[in-house]
């Protein structure tokens, strides 16, 4: 039944078409992978902007009934306060409807305005990479992993003869295994 199948040609066709299919998902995982790899150095999901302002006599201002409205006017913020939290007797946090946190220090009369903005595109890519979606994405990414395994193994049989994996280029395959093994040996032993 399989006598007339040209396995070499079939392998190349499957490698090509599955490779095409994997372009999008590979870019998602690769770009977000770089971003998440450096999570200690930067925030890959959000842009956090701090703006410090000084409001004279903040302590007296807090005691006024119209304090929150007055503060927003002083800071020129066009939003509303949705929640508040006293962190200590001299530190108050106010949360606005525009995803800002106002950190008030009554001793220094300073207000830090923290604005949180999800990074466009990257937040979405990281959302998928970290499987925050769960549900069907889990199965889709499993399928993607299987396709990657196929791409890796089928790559070994793409070219016949000495220019293939059985020739001098075998050293490249060996290097691909050796590099992670060296890291395991160096860091885990």
């Amino acid at each position: 039944m399989f006598k007339n199948v040209n396995w070499f040609k079939l392998n190349r066709s499957l490698h090509r078409d599955i490779g095409y299919f994997c372009v999008g998902v590979t870019l998602i995982f690769a770009i977000s992978g770089i971003a998440l790899n450096h999570v200690e150095d930067w925030n890959p999901n959000y842009q956090v902007i701090h703006n410090t302002q000084t409001i004279p006599a903040l302590k007296q201002m807090v005691e006024r009934d119209s304090f929150e409205t007055d503060l927003l006017i002083s800071l020129q913020l066009n939003s509303k306060i949705k929640a508040r939290f006293w962190q200590s007797p001299s530190q108050l946090k106010l949360f606005t409807t525009n995803e800002q946190t106002l950190m008030l220090n009554l001793d220094s009369n300073q207000v830090i305005i923290e604005q949180i903005k999800p990074r466009p595109i990257l937040r979405s890519l990281n959302f998928l990479h970290l499987n925050e979606a769960r549900k069907a994405w889990t199965y889709f990414s499993d399928l993607y992993a299987v396709m990657l395994i196929f791409l890796a193994l089928s790559a070994l049989f793409m070219i016949k003869g000495k220019k293939g994996v059985w020739g001098p280029r075998a050293i490249i395959v060996v290097a691909g295994f050796a590099a992670p093994l060296a890291f395991i040996f160096y860091y885990a032993s």
């Binding site: 999570v39 946090k93 949360f95 595109i121």
Partner: protein, 157 residues
């Protein structure tokens, strides 16, 4: 020609969608069991009575882990106090944009006793995470950290 147009449309649509998603998910894990709420102040006044028991708490989200979204702090109903809601990295990811919203969390309360050195490191890390100044000489006593490890969280607007 048709394939070229299709490919370009697909790429531009994907880019638009990826840049405009809002991540409005407000239920994590199994969601919180809101039927039996315990005040955070009640738990923090006698935490040993609640250890390893499943409880549900409610509070305003006042801090969120900036790097991995693996913890958040809920304000107690008493001033200055918070309770940390902590998950294993990746089990749930709490978005930073939920700060100021009300969260409900259900799960067991656990205790982590720290020695003085660990206390200093813990408080220093917390201060660094939140861009706050920290003087380790101000820490003279070891603390025990109580946290809730949720199986379900619901965030309300």
């Amino acid at each position: 020609m048709f394939q070229k147009k299709l490919l370009l449309t697909l790429i531009s649509t994907s880019a638009f969608m990826f840049s405009n998603l809002s991540f409005a998910d407000s239920v994590f894990g199994s969601g919180a069991d809101k039927s039996k709420l315990t005040a955070i102040s009640t738990i923090l006044s006698t935490p040993e009575n609640y250890l390893d028991q499943s409880v549900t708490v409610q509070g305003t989200i006042v801090k969120v882990c900036k790097k991995r979204g693996c913890w958040m702090e809920l304000a107690s109903d008493k001033q200055y106090k918070t309770l940390r809601i902590k998950v294993r990295d990746g089990d749930m990811v709490f978005p930073m944009t939920t700060m100021g919203k009300t969260a409900y969390a259900t799960g067991p309360l656990t205790a982590i006793p720290l020695d003085l050195e660990q206390t200093k490191r813990y408080l220093a890390y917390q201060a660094e995470e939140q861009n706050e100044t920290f003087d380790e000489n101000s820490v003279t006593q070891a603390i025990t950290v109580y946290q809730l490890n949720p199986v379900g969280v619901t965030i309300a607007d």
